[in-house]
Symmetry: C2
Subunit: 257 residues, 2 copies
């Protein structure tokens, strides 16, 4: 019986076709498993916490694997990172995914089922800055008009608590037994044309953060009032909510155990 | 006889195989000419100021073309930008190259030969920040150890003035009649592990800024003294200088006319 190792992983989603392994696509899971299997000379299978979509970034993805590798756990991150950089060392390292931490967990720990909640960040810029549109285009969602951040804050606060979030679920996700979720916190922060939605909860439906973001942007644009958020939740109907904001502004920011 | 139009162009070099048009490579010039030719329904040929290498960014590239296009010059940038975004408008625009400005110039103006000088910026981080290594990997050169920025400032100042910069010329560039150039200014700015080399001059040899950066980094690492910069210049020998810093930290920042 090998050790149950939990990895903390950061990646630039613009370089990958999402987390989940797929036959002919460059995915984070597929890439990590291939590199680690080559490095450790035995098949490595990763059990990831969150199946981030293509273009979505991670500051704190988690994935576990069973390891009988003869390397001390506190050196694992460095060893894998060197392999991810193609063996190049030190200053020349350049890779779109890196291991931030590796630690041994109890035998019954499961990266997905033991997860108590997650936090996401969605980054928005509402200034028409051409240079930023060139260099941040994969990392921030650019909105041309000024958004009313106070209205967005008010609406975000209405998401807190336990609700049926069916209005914010896209079709195409995994089957769910319930669409009720608890949002621990939801807030808009930022200044000078840059803002971030910070939202944490015990779980999220398919595309839920992106649909919430799209709805908040429509509120910021004045197309909807902040108070409408309550009606949108009560409708339990995807048609009631706003558009789905694009993946590239979204970051998986924290996984709670 | 058409108008002589000068474009100011910004691009993310990580998306392109350099400026110059090449058969089978996605280049800035090739992409712009293709999109503009399709948009204006006539062949557009761009005359660019600087042939930036693959991975090198531009905040202020210039390129001219002869235009008999029936669109007011002050609307050209917007029209081309919409076409560069595949016709998508407003919030959804996402492209690695954008036109910042378009203006009519005198008939005898030439984007390259009328150029009086250029400014480059080279971005370096010397903090071991894994998240930044993931998300800034195409935009900043990461050095693992702390650099002595004061030593680098002292050495950079020795570059100012008119010198033979043969030590800082890579092979493979265009034939030169002389390797003497005048550096107007060279300085290191920044704080908290982020620094920038700002260097301006009347012209630069092939890979000159990247070799100067590599040499300054070796000085910052304490492998060379700042005063050695004078000897390196005097040697007029590529072997005397430091390594060639990678392209992705380099930005064409300004073109002087």
């Amino acid at each position: 019986m090998g050790k149950n190792i939990l990895l903390t992983i950061a990646y630039d989603g613009s370089a990958f076709h999402g987390w989940q392994k797929q036959p002919d696509e460059f995915t984070v899971q597929g890439h990590l498993e291939r590199v680690m299997t080559g490095l450790f000379k035995r098949e490595i299978l990763l059990n990831g916490t969150s199946r981030t979509d293509a273009g979505v970034h991670a500051l704190d993805q988690k994935a576990s694997f069973v390891s009988d590798v003869n390397i001390p756990t506190d050196r694992l991150a460095r060893v894998i990172n060197n392999a991810l950089c193609g063996g190049e060392k030190g200053s020349f390292a350049k890779a779109p995914v890196r291991i931030l931490d590796a630690r041994e967990m109890p035998e019954d720990f499961h990266a997905r089922f033991s997860c108590k909640g997650k936090k996401y960040i969605y980054k928005i810029k509402d200034e028409s800055d051409e240079l930023s549109m060139v260099f941040d285009r994969n990392y921030v969602y650019h909105v041309r008009e000024r958004l009313d951040t106070e209205a967005m804050k008010t609406a975000a606060a209405l998401l807190k608590g336990t609700h049926d979030f069916k209005s914010f679920e896209a079709s195409g996700g995994n089957p769910r037994t319930t669409t009720v979720r608890t949002i621990f916190d939801a807030d808009i922060t930022g200044k000078d044309g840059e803002m971030e939605l910070h939202i944490s909860g015990d779980g999220f439906l398919y595309n839920m953060v992106r649909i919430i973001t799209g709805t908040l942007i429509e509120i910021g644009q004045g197309k909807r009032s902040p108070q409408e958020m309550e009606k949108i939740i009560a409708a339990a109907d995807r048609q009631a909510a706003g558009f789905t904001a694009p993946p590239y502004g979204l970051y998986l920011a924290e996984v709670y155990y």
